[in-house]
C-alpha cells in the first residue's frame, strides 16, 4: 500500500486475504472501513477498489451516513399519519397543513452536530445550523425558523464546559442571525455527563407550496439531465467529517474535519435558490435538488442518480474549486459548506447558471463561488467519476446504495436504586431561590438574547414568552405554527423508556399549552458507543418509549393516528473512554393553531385573574430538580406518566386556547408548581408590578411536594367569569382542577402552605435570582 494516487488501487487481492490488516492500514490513512467491509467492497466491485472508491465507501458506510447500527431499530417509530406527505428517508420530512393553508406544506428537519461542536464550538454549532437549513431548502422550501437543543457539561466544573457553552451560542447566533432565519428557542441542559461530549441538536423549519416540493433524485423522463453544482468553491474543509462523527473523539487534532461556515454566502445562495424555485415552478421545469453534506460531490451525485434509478458520469475537472491544488479524492468527498446540486434538463442549465453567476453574482460575493455543470445522468446504472482523463470511481449504482447493517447486542442496564429521601424540614423559601438561581432552572434569557428570533416578521410568540414559539404560516391567513422541544437527560438516565415518553409528552404538551394541536415530531437519538450492549439497551428502550408516547398523542391531528416522526437523526459515539453521555433522545414537536392570535403566553396580564392548576395531583418528588439540586440526591426514576391522561390534558389545553378563556398558561414540569408560578410572573412586564396570592394548602400535601413535584400539569390564569366554562371543559375531559389563588397587583409571590405556613418572595428578588445564574457562568473566567 505505497501508492497514494486516487485512481490506483487502495489494496491488492493479495493484501485483502487479511482484511483486518487492510482495515487497519486504511484507518491509518483516514479511511474507516471495517474488515468485513473490505471484503464486501471488493466483492461488490469484483476487484480491489481504487483509492477514491475506498474513500467514498468509507463515508457511505460510516455510522453517520449508513445508520448501520440503528436503521433496523428505527422501524419501531410510527411514521404514518394522514398529514404526512414525506416521512423519514429524505433530507427532511414534509407534512400537510390544514385549511386555509392546505396549499402549503411544512418541512421539518433535525440534525446533530455534537462532535464538531465539542472540538470547535463556534464553527461546529454554526455549521450545524447551516447543514440543517440546507436539508430544508433542498426539499424546495424556504426556511422560516431554527431551534436548538443544547447539552453542556457542568459549568461549575471546568472552564472548558463554559467555553463550549459560549462558543456554541456564539456560533448559532453568528450563523442564524446573518442568514436571516429566526431562532425559535429550544432548550439547554447542564450535566457533568456532557463534560467531554456536548450535544448540539439543530432543528429547522420550512414552508413550501404543496405542489412545489422537490425530491433529491434525477427526474423521470428522457432529459437529457445534467448535474449543476452551485455555491462555494470546493476546498478541503470537512474532509473526513462523516468518519469523524462516527467514532470517539480522540487525542489527535481533529479540527480539520470540522466544516467552515459562511452564512453571508449562504444568505445570497439561498435567496438566489428561492428565485430558482419560483422560475422552475412557473415554467414547469422538472428538476431534482440535493444539498452537499457528508461525502460532498460524490455522495450527492451518486445518491441523486441512485434515487432516480439511473447512473451518472461526473467530470470532476468541471467543478469550481479553490485555486490551490488538492487531491481529487478530497475534491470529490470534502464537506465544503454552502453548496447544493441541481439536476435539470440540459436545455435549462444555461439559465440556471446565469441566474446564480450573473443575476446574483455569486463570484463577487465570494471569489470562486458560482454554478457549473459537472456531469450528466446516463441510463446505464453505473456511477463514474473522471479527473484529468483518469477514472476515479466506476461502480454499479446498486453498490452505492447497498445498505450496511451492524448487529449490535443489547441488554437492559441495571439501574442503581434511588437512595431513600432524607427527611428534613423543607425551607421552601430558600429552595425556590436556589432552584431559580441555579443554571438548571435559571432564566435562559442571557443566552437567547444573542439570537434574532424575529427576522422575517412572522414571530408572534418568542422564546421566553410562551411554552412554545409561534409563527404565522402566511401573512394574510390566521394559521399559526408552534414549535417546542423535549428531553430530560436526568429522567432518561433513570429510566430510558419512561424518560423518552416524557420527552415526547413534554414537547407535545408545550405546543398544546400555547393552543396548538401537536402535528408532527422529529427526533435525534444521542447516545454513546453502539458496541456497548448497555448503550444499545438504553437506545432500544428509548425507541420503545418514543414510539409508545407518539402512538398515544396523535389524536389531536388525526383521530386514531399516531403523532408521526417525519425526520430524525442518530448520533452515536458520544463517549470518551468509559464515559458515555446519559441516554439523550431529543424530540421536537410541531403544532398548528387555527389562529395565531389564540396563542397563549405564560405572562399573566391582569390582577384579579384566578389561577387554576389542571392535571395530575401533586404527589411525590420522583426525578424532581428539587431532589437533585436542593436535597443533592442523584438517580432514581422520573415521575410516572399516564399517556392516556396526557392525551386528555393536551386536548383540554387546545380547547382552552381556542375558546380564549385564559389569559396565560404554563406547563408544570421542571421545578414544579413553585418554579412555574415564578416563571409566569417573571414573563410579565416588570412595570405592571403583578404578583400572585396562592393557597397551596388546598393541595393537601407537604409544602415541598406542593411546590416541587414535577408530575405533568398545566397552570392557568383566567378571568373569574370564564371559570365555569373552563371547569366544565376540564370535567368533560375527566381532569382534576385546583383553583389555587389569584393574580395580584403587589409585585409579590405569596403562598399559604399546608399547616398555616406563609411564605412570600418579591418578584424583583425572584428576577434577580433567575437572571443571575447564566450571566455569572458566562462571565466566569479561570478554572
Amino acid at each position: 500500500m505505497t501508492t497514494l494516487t486516487a485512481a490506483t488501487g487502495a489494496w491488492t487481492t493479495d493484501e485483502s486475504r487479511d482484511p483486518a490488516a487492510v482495515s487497519r492500514a486504511l484507518r491509518a490513512r483516514g479511511v474507516a472501513l471495517e474488515a468485513e467491509e473490505v471484503t464486501l467492497l471488493e466483492r461488490l466491485l469484483g476487484r480491489p477498489p481504487r483509492w477514491a472508491e475506498a474513500v467514498l465507501f468509507g463515508i457511505l458506510w460510516s455510522e453517520h451516513c449508513s445508520y448501520k447500527s440503528t436503521r433496523h431499530l428505527l422501524k419501531r417509530l410510527p411514521t404514518r399519519a394522514p398529514q404526512v406527505v414525506i416521512g423519514p428517508g429524505e433530507d427532511a420530512g414534509v407534512v400537510s397543513l390544514p385549511a386555509p393553508c392546505d396549499d402549503l406544506v411544512l418541512v421539518l428537519g433535525h440534525e446533530s452536530h455534537n462532535h464538531p461542536s465539542q472540538v470547535l464550538p463556534v464553527e461546529g454549532a454554526a455549521t450545524g445550523i447551516g447543514g440543517i437549513v440546507r436539508d430544508i431548502v433542498c426539499m424546495g422550501a424556504e426556511v422560516v425558523g431554527v431551534m436548538d437543543s443544547l447539552r453542556f457539561g457542568d459549568p461549575a466544573g471546568s472552564v472548558h464546559a463554559r467555553d463550549v457553552m459560549r462558543g456554541v451560542v456564539q456560533g448559532i447566533a453568528d450563523y442564524g442571525n446573518a442568514l436571516g432565519v429566526p431562532n425559535l428557542g429550544g432548550d439547554t441542559v447542564f450535566d457533568s455527563g456532557y463534560d467531554t461530549n456536548c450535544l448540539v441538536n439543530a432543528m429547522a423549519i420550512g414552508l413550501a407550496p404543496a405542489d412545489g416540493v422537490l425530491r433529491s433524485r434525477v427526474p423521470q423522463g428522457p432529459g437529457p439531465w445534467v448535474f449543476v453544482l452551485v455555491g462555494k468553491p470546493t476546498d478541503e474543509s470537512g474532509f473526513g467529517g462523516a468518519a469523524f462523527a462516527s467514532g470517539e473523539l480522540g487525542a489527535d487534532d481533529q479540527r480539520g474535519a470540522v466544516q467552515l461556515p459562511d452564512p453571508f454566502l449562504k444568505r445570497v445562495l439561498n435567496v438566489a435558490t428561492y428565485e430558482v424555485f419560483r422560475r422552475v415552478r412557473a415554467a414547469g421545469v422538472p428538476c431534482g435538488f440535493k444539498d452537499l453534506g457528508a461525502g460532498g460531490i460524490a455522495c450527492a451525485t451518486s445518491e441523486l442518480a441512485a434515487a432516480g434509478g439511473c447512473g451518472a458520469e461526473i467530470r470532476l475537472d468541471d467543478a469550481h474549486r479553490v485555486a490551490r491544488p488538492l487531491p481529487p479524492e478530497v475534491l470529490l468527498c470534502a464537506e465544503t459548506q454552502e453548496r447544493y446540486c441541481w439536476v435539470v434538463p440540459e436545455a435549462f442549465a444555461p439559465e440556471l447558471v446565469r441566474l446564480y453567476e450573473e443575476e446574483f453574482a455569486l463570484g463577487q460575493v465570494m471569489p470562486g463561488a458560482g454554478a457549473r455543470v459537472i456531469g450528466r445522468a446516463i441510463p446505464e446504472k453505473r456511477y463514474r467519476v473522471e479527473w484529468q482523463g483518469e477514472v476515479l470511481v466506476d461502480c454499479e449504482v446498486d453498490a452505492i446504495t447497498t445498505g450496511r447493517k451492524a448487529e449490535r447486542p443489547s441488554r437492559p442496564r441495571v439501574r442503581a436504586e434511588a437512595k431513600p429521601r432524607r427527611r428534613r424540614a423543607a425551607d421552601v423559601r430558600g429552595a425556590l431561590l436556589t432552584l431559580l438561581g441555579g443554571e438548571h432552572l435559571g432564566s435562559r434569557e442571557y443566552l437567547y438574547r444573542h439570537y434574532d428570533s424575529e427576522v422575517q416578521g412572522r414571530t408572534w410568540l418568542r422564546p421566553g414568552e410562551g411554552d412554545a414559539a409561534v409563527l404565522r404560516a402566511h401573512p394574510e391567513r390566521p394559521l399559526g405554527l408552534a414549535f417546542a422541544v423535549g428531553g430530560n437527560p436526568h429522567w432518561c438516565a433513570g429510566d430510558p423508556d419512561l424518560g423518552a415518553r416524557h420527552a415526547v409528552a413534554e414537547a407535545a404538551r408545550n405546543c398544546a399549552v400555547v393552543g396548538a394541536r401537536p402535528w408532527a415530531l422529529t427526533d435525534c437519538l444521542n447516545f454513546g458507543h453502539p458496541e456497548d450492549p448497555e448503550v444499545m439497551g438504553d437506545l432500544e428502550a428509548s425507541l420503545d418509549g418514543l414510539a409508545a408516547a407518539a402512538h398515544a398523542l396523535g389524536g389531536l391531528a388525526a383521530p386514531g393516528s399516531p403523532l408521526p416522526y417525519v425526520s430524525g437523526n442518530v448520533s452515536l459515539y458520544n463517549q470518551v473512554g468509559r464515559d458515555a453521555i446519559p441516554p439523550s433522545p431529543i424530540v421536537m414537536c410541531a403544532g398548528v393553531l387555527d389562529d395565531a392570535g389564540q396563542a397563549l403566553g405564560l405572562a399573566p396580564t391582569s390582577a384579579g385573574h384566578v389561577i387554576v392548576l389542571v392535571g395530575e395531583p401533586r404527589e411525590g418528588l420522583e426525578g424532581s430538580t428539587y431532589r437533585r439540586e436542593v436535597l443533592r440526591e442523584r438517580g432514581g426514576p422520573p415521575p410516572p406518566l399516564s399517556l392516556e391522561h396526557e392525551a386528555r390534558l393536551q386536548a383540554f389545553a387546545v380547547e382552552v386556547a381556542r375558546g380564549r378563556w385564559a389569559a396565560a398558561a404554563h406547563d408544570v414540569s421542571d421545578g414544579g408548581l413553585g418554579v412555574a408560578l415564578a416563571e409566569m410572573l417573571l414573563a410579565a412586564a416588570p412595570e405592571a408590578n403583578l404578583g400572585m396570592d396562592a393557597q397551596l394548602d388546598v393541595l393537601g400535601v407537604e409544602p415541598a411536594v406542593a411546590l416541587f413535584c414535577e408530575r405533568p400539569a398545566i397552570v392557568y390564569a383566567l378571568p373569574f367569569e370564564r371559570l365555569p366554562r373552563f371547569s366544565q371543559a376540564a370535567r368533560d375531559h375527566a381532569l382534576q382542577t385546583w383553583p389555587i389563588g389569584s393574580v395580584s397587583a403587589h409585585g409579590q409571590l405569596r403562598m399559604l402552605l399546608p399547616g398555616e405556613q406563609r411564605v412570600a418572595w418579591t418578584v424583583a428578588e425572584l428576577r434577580d435570582a433567575s437572571q443571575r445564574a447564566l450571566a455569572r457562568r458566562w462571565n466566569e473566567e479561570g478554572a
Binding site: F264, R267, A361, G457, R472, A688
Partner: protein
C-alpha cells in the same frame, strides 16, 4: 417616476427584504426589491427607498461600511437631496450613517459603534420603548412628541456616537433625533437594558435636516400587526392588545406599533403627488 413604488435596496447579505415589502404593502405602497447587480441609473424611477436590515457585505470592516461605498449610494444621495424619502433600518441605518446621508451635511459625522452593555458583548435582541421627539422627520411627524412606540432591536453595532461632543446635542436641538430609547413610563432610558446599546443621548433614530432621510436601529417592520407585540411590553399597547383579544378582535388586522412609520411614508408620498 412612479411616486408610489418604493425600492427595497438589496445588498448582498441583507435579510429583511420580505417583511419590509409587507410593511410597505400594509401602508398601501408598492415595494420592489432592487438588487445590487442592477445599474444605479435605474434608481430614479422610484419614489422612495428603504434600506432594510441584515448584514450587508458581511459587516466587513464595519457594519454598513462597504454598502456605503457602493455606487448605488452615490445615486441614492442625489435622490435624497431632491427630497425623496429614504428609510434605513438597522443595517440600513448603518449604511446611511457610513455614507454620510445621516445626519447629512456631506460628510460622515456619526458612527454606529459596538453596543456598550454590562456583562455582555456583541449582538443583542429585545423589545424596547422609543419616545418620539419633536422633528420634521417624514416618518414620525404624524406622532405627537412624547408618543411611546415599543419596537424590537436586534443588533451588535447600534450605539449612535459622534466625532465631536457637541454634535448630538446640536442634532437634538435641530429636531434631527426623532426617536430616543425610553422607559415604559416614557422617561429617557439611561441604563441597560432600556437603553440597549449605550447610544449618546439615548438616540434610536437620527434623520437629516430636511427630515426625509431617517436612520433607525429598531425594526418597525417586525411589529406590523398588533399580534406581533411582545408579551412583556407594558402600557397602552399591551392594553390595546388585551382589549382586542378579549373583544374577539383580529390581531392581524389591527396595526402594531411599527406600522406607523410606513403609514407616515405613504401619507408623505400622497401629499407630494
Amino acid at each position: 417616476m412612479s411616486t408610489h413604488v418604493v425600492a427595497v435596496m438589496q445588498f448582498p447579505g441583507v435579510n429583511c427584504e420580505a417583511e419590509t415589502l409587507r410593511a410597505l404593502a400594509r401602508a398601501g405602497l408598492e415595494g420592489e426589491v432592487f438588487r445590487w447587480t442592477r445599474p444605479a441609473s435605474e434608481l430614479g424611477r422610484y419614489g422612495a427607498f428603504v434600506l432594510p436590515g441584515g448584514f450587508s457585505y458581511q459587516d466587513r470592516v464595519r457594519a454598513g461600511a462597504l454598502a456605503a461605498r457602493d455606487p448605488l449610494l452615490g445615486a441614492l444621495a442625489e435622490l435624497a437631496d431632491e427630497g425623496r424619502p429614504v428609510l434605513g433600518i438597522c443595517n440600513g441605518a448603518q449604511v446611511l450613517v457610513e455614507a454620510g446621508l445621516v445626519p447629512g451635511r456631506g460628510k460622515v459625522e456619526l458612527a454606529l459603534a459596538r453596543n456598550r452593555m454590562p456583562r455582555r458583548s456583541g449582538y443583542y435582541s429585545r423589545w424596547v420603548y422609543c419616545r418620539v421627539e419633536p422633528s420634521p422627520c417624514v416618518f414620525t411627524r404624524a406622532l405627537p412628541p412624547g408618543t411611546l412606540v415599543p419596537l424590537p432591536v436586534a443588533h451588535g453595532e447600534g450605539r449612535f456616537t459622534a466625532s465631536s461632543r457637541t454634535a448630538m446635542p446640536r442634532l437634538l436641538a435641530a429636531g434631527q433625533v426623532p426617536l430616543r430609547y425610553a422607559s415604559a413610563a416614557g422617561e429617557l432610558a439611561e441604563e441597560f437594558p432600556a437603553l440597549p446599546n449605550g447610544a449618546e443621548l439615548s438616540a434610536a433614530g437620527v434623520c437629516n435636516a430636511a427630515g426625509n432621510v431617517l436612520a433607525m436601529m429598531p425594526h418597525p417592520e417586525r411589529a406590523l400587526e398588533l399580534g406581533a407585540l411582545a408579551r412583556g411590553v407594558a402600557g397602552a399597547w399591551s392594553e390595546r392588545r388585551l382589549a382586542c383579544v378579549q373583544g374577539g378582535g383580529d390581531l392581524a388586522r389591527e396595526d402594531g406599533p411599527g406600522a406607523v412609520f410606513f403609514r407616515g411614508l405613504a401619507a408623505h408620498l400622497m401629499e407630494a403627488v
